[in-house]
Symmetry: D2
Subunit: 131 residues, 4 copies
């Protein structure tokens, strides 16, 4: 696993549900935002537009340990590693301000697919960002 990358996410009305905390699927959104900043969003847009290559989540294992509330600015912590030439493994966590443990922990496997949804090796451009 690499060092930890940090990405801040502020919690807005759109993120919460009527129980008063963040609606649980939204954490997958924050993890994706954070990964895109690690890889480089412009590079991802170019890969998609020019080569028809995109990344897809293949597996996601999540533990929800604490609720996150409106207006909090959370720290999304991201590390990753490679598993062969097709898979990247991501360890990602959500930390509340002043949190003493992660609010959410996720292990996520990503693969690269072409527009026909066929598995492709991780593109060299992405390897260059990640290495």
């Amino acid at each position: 696993m690499t060092k930890v990358f940090h990405h801040p996410v502020q919690i807005y009305y759109e993120d919460t549900d009527h129980s008063g905390v963040v609606y649980h699927p939204n954490f997958l959104k924050y993890f994706e935002r954070a990964r895109e900043h690690v890889i480089d969003s412009d590079k991802l847009a170019k890969l998609w537009n020019e080569q028809g290559l995109g990344f897809a989540v293949y597996k996601a294992n999540m533990i929800f340990q604490d609720g996150v509330e409106f207006a909090e600015i959370c720290d999304i912590r991201t590390r990753y590693s490679f598993d062969g030439k097709y898979k990247t493994l991501w360890r990602q966590e959500v930390w509340r301000p002043n949190g003493t443990k992660a609010a959410v922990i996720a292990d996520i496997e990503m693969v690269c697919l072409d527009k026909d949804k066929r598995l492709q090796p991780i593109p060299a451009e992405v390897l260059a960002s990640l290495s």
Copy 2:
């Protein structure tokens, strides 16, 4: 305007926010679902996949008169008319169970665009559904 078409929408956790009612942008989702049932979702998918034609909201004027709560099954009421060969006008409302007035009222203008975002006349297939 046509007769009223009815489409039921149940409110889930995903629809609400921490204030305890439906998060306001979500009503635009319900209006779109209801329009797709009026036009016919399979026909819309075919138009997109085979001809690259899609519908886009050009204008939306909304009034939010009442909050809608978790587990309610609302009635989305839809009427429409044509405005020339390029535009359709939709009057749509959200009614809560036992509501005495609409919770949300919207006037929405839709246009048809090709994949280069150029305006196209309303396709004959859609006119056939709507007439």
Copy 3:
């Protein structure tokens, strides 16, 4: 595990992303909708409003095996079991029309929390629905 409960979900514009398939966090929404229909949404609303009790996802393990496209009506298949008096375990799958395997498979653990986010035993009302 119980027998399989079936819940249909139609895929709208709101569900997809620019890669052309359903955006992966949305499957967690469909699983929640399906669980609410198994438990009974009105009962859940009553528990929340009268006793301040709600259900929260504690763990979710997901495998994404296939993309799901606009206008498809998927079958959300749900089974569950109990794990002591605090936890329910849910095996849920998304099946595309004419699918030969599940598009998404999830194992989800739910717990019951009060408004202070303290763990509570599964309420008798819910046990009555589920048994």
Copy 4:
């Protein structure tokens, strides 16, 4: 109307739909995020938690002039004025990078409600932020 306040919004997978551009209801989310930064999110959280006061959109009139694509960083431009002691009026726009006109234009009326959804005058704390 006040001077223009600027708030950047990056477009992620979650924001787009299968037509390749931002799903139209999401612009209402960006407008809300921008307003919260003008008013001060911590102040809004405090008002809600301590006094049970929240802001609700009463009217929204929107024109969608251009599609917005993945990875773009848009500039949300916000101005506002007061209309009596109950209403604030917001003129908000979405500008794409290098845009020559606004992609989306909105006129939004906000009111302040208590937890029973009764109209309340704009709180002094918010007036202090906005003046």
